[in-house]
Symmetry: C2
Subunit: 358 residues, 2 copies
């Protein structure tokens, strides 16, 4: 994870003045993408019934619980990837607009439903949709967001809109598979590392892969370019999940916004934990016994468990896997025959996602 | 409701020997449709992750809880409408196949999610998906069925497949609106008759309208034919809901499979109840007071409430509205310029749905 956020580029991309080569300002790139996608996303959400719309606008951070203007939602990485993916295929970034809206809608559909399934009462320090309006509302709001994604894509004028909508549907099925496996794994003590990686590919990788490819699909790019972009997104998604799992144990609460050792507190069978249990020898067996134990634990006990993950090789393995995935991501992009500017911006965006303190 | 199930036809339709004019055997037509659609529906469901697939196959009546072969699911009216709609537009019925699979998937998506939202533990005398596997599984299984509908349509070879998929997405948004209104109305005592009709149009009418039109859309039929078929489906759907609401109060338990006076027992604000409350004068006010009262009621009290619905005009109004909608349905079909055989079969199928004992 040594590559900095700042990468020198020499071609056009999402920046305001693409003729001037310079470092990629990823926060500015993300802000520009949010501005580009915002109006179309708002117009889509405005079609929902009055209740689902209110819930979606709150969930997306556009309004607060008291009706005041929202403080904003997430970074919207997926729409930025979608716009860049059109530009990388040599088309105007706006060619990817419907794709950008669709992947953001699908992402938020999955968040609203997952929060309910996982029983999470808070997201970004605010009550989740189900916690505020009840389970029925969260189900309907999520269903509505998913449906809008299909609608928006099929209204697009691109002759490749139907192919893009089909890609999003297949991706949604992958998301559902990943979440279904996550739910099933909670009840099992014998989940293997490969199963866990396959689950992460569904839950995290698939939508990032599609986000990084959908603009190129809408632009009618050659298969090799679409595949390279998709492989890039999948590799970045897997690296992201591995880093996220490391941060869930060893992340600084001041940086992650989560309590210290949070994934161990909730006994989450994350990737490093699964590796240590399955392949960590004596430390792994001790960790497995600890995971089977229920009830509150002291911070000292949680630190001891983190130590078992580390002694079982989970920390080292996850870090090495993440680095390996980022190398694969760079290689996938390099072979895709992309425009230089967006290529560099995609690289910078990928590293921005991964290079967090841990 | 005087038209019999049996109608003489003089052109080709879904029957095995379309050259021979004769009465429409609606149960045979439905059975033939189920046979036509079955393999494609099973192939679609087989793509789901292993958990969602098991749940969907159980929900659809293909397997029982103990793993034994299922005793079958519903009549599959919507797929039959979709196939007939292609034939009505002069195309082979199979042109509507992807549409038939899609509407059946969307219908079952809504059943799986609605059962959870409504807290219904049984459907067709078997535990519902959420009652058997939990809320998370029902959410994911429903999400998966909805996604498959888009996939199946966008894989179809028809040049109008994207238009059909867009129609299904807009229809799903209407379904969601109807269910969201239903949820919201539960908490209100002042729901108007028009609001209640609009809600029924979303929950029941919209998918029947789309089922009756989607085959014609896939066949590239003229707008007038598509609109006539859609209007027909909407009118039949509204008539169906009105009759269903009458049966929910006055239906014979031996015929409906529901307990006597079941909708009053659950204090459902059905269409006849809403009419009586809003426009039923003194009887309506008495009924409103009864609805506001909570707690168990004796059968005698429920019968007294049914009497208030009747004295408030709810029974007569709902019956007259249902008949009026069936006349409108026939008129919509008559003006759509359809092939004679499928036209007669659509009419017979509509009456089969509506002409139940009450």
């Amino acid at each position: 994870m040594s590559t900095p956020d700042t990468v020198t580029v020499d071609g056009p991309g999402l920046r305001d003045d693409p003729s001037r080569p310079g470092p990629v300002d990823v926060p500015a790139l993300l802000a520009h993408s949010r501005e580009t996608v915002g109006p179309a996303l708002r117009a889509a959400v405005a079609r929902l019934d009055v209740s689902s719309r209110e819930q979606a606008e709150y969930h997306l951070g556009w309004v607060e619980a008291d009706g005041s203007p929202g403080r904003g939602g997430g970074k919207a990485v997926r729409p930025a990837l979608a716009l860049l993916s059109a530009a990388a295929a040599g088309a105007p970034a706006e060619t990817g607009l419907a794709g950008a809206v669709a992947v953001e809608l699908v992402h938020n559909f999955s968040l609203v439903h997952d929060d309910l399934m996982d029983g999470d009462r808070e997201r970004r320090h605010r009550p989740t949709v189900w916690a505020r309006w009840g389970a029925a509302s969260a189900i309907l709001c999520g269903d509505g967001l998913l449906t809008l994604a299909t609608e928006v894509l099929l209204e697009d004028r691109s002759p490749h809109a139907a192919a893009a909508a089909r890609l999003v549907a297949v991706t949604t099925r992958e998301l559902i598979r990943g979440q279904a496996e996550d739910v099933a794994f909670e009840r099992r003590a014998d989940v293997g590392v490969d199963e866990c990686l396959t689950m992460a590919a569904g839950k995290t990788g698939s939508l990032l892969a599609t986000s990084a490819a959908i603009g190129a699909v809408l632009a009618g790019a050659p298969t090799a370019a679409v595949r390279g972009l998709s492989d890039y997104g999948m590799a970045v998604g897997m690296a992201f999940q591995l880093v996220d799992d490391l941060l869930g144990i060893w992340g600084d609460p001041a940086v992650t916004g989560k309590p210290v050792l949070s994934d161990l507190r909730s006994r989450k069978k994350s990737l490093p934990v699964t590796f240590a249990v399955q392949r960590g020898g004596a430390a792994g067996r001790e960790l497995a016994a600890w995971l089977a134990h229920t009830g509150e634990q002291t911070d000292a006990e949680l630190r001891a468990a983190a130590d078992l993950v580390e002694r079982g090789g989970g920390r080292e393995w996850a870090g090495a896997e993440a680095r390996r995935r980022m190398v694969a991501a760079e290689r996938a992009l390099a072979g895709a025959g992309l425009a230089a500017g967006p290529h560099a911006e995609l690289l910078a965006l990928g590293h921005h996602l991964i290079d967090r303190e841990f």
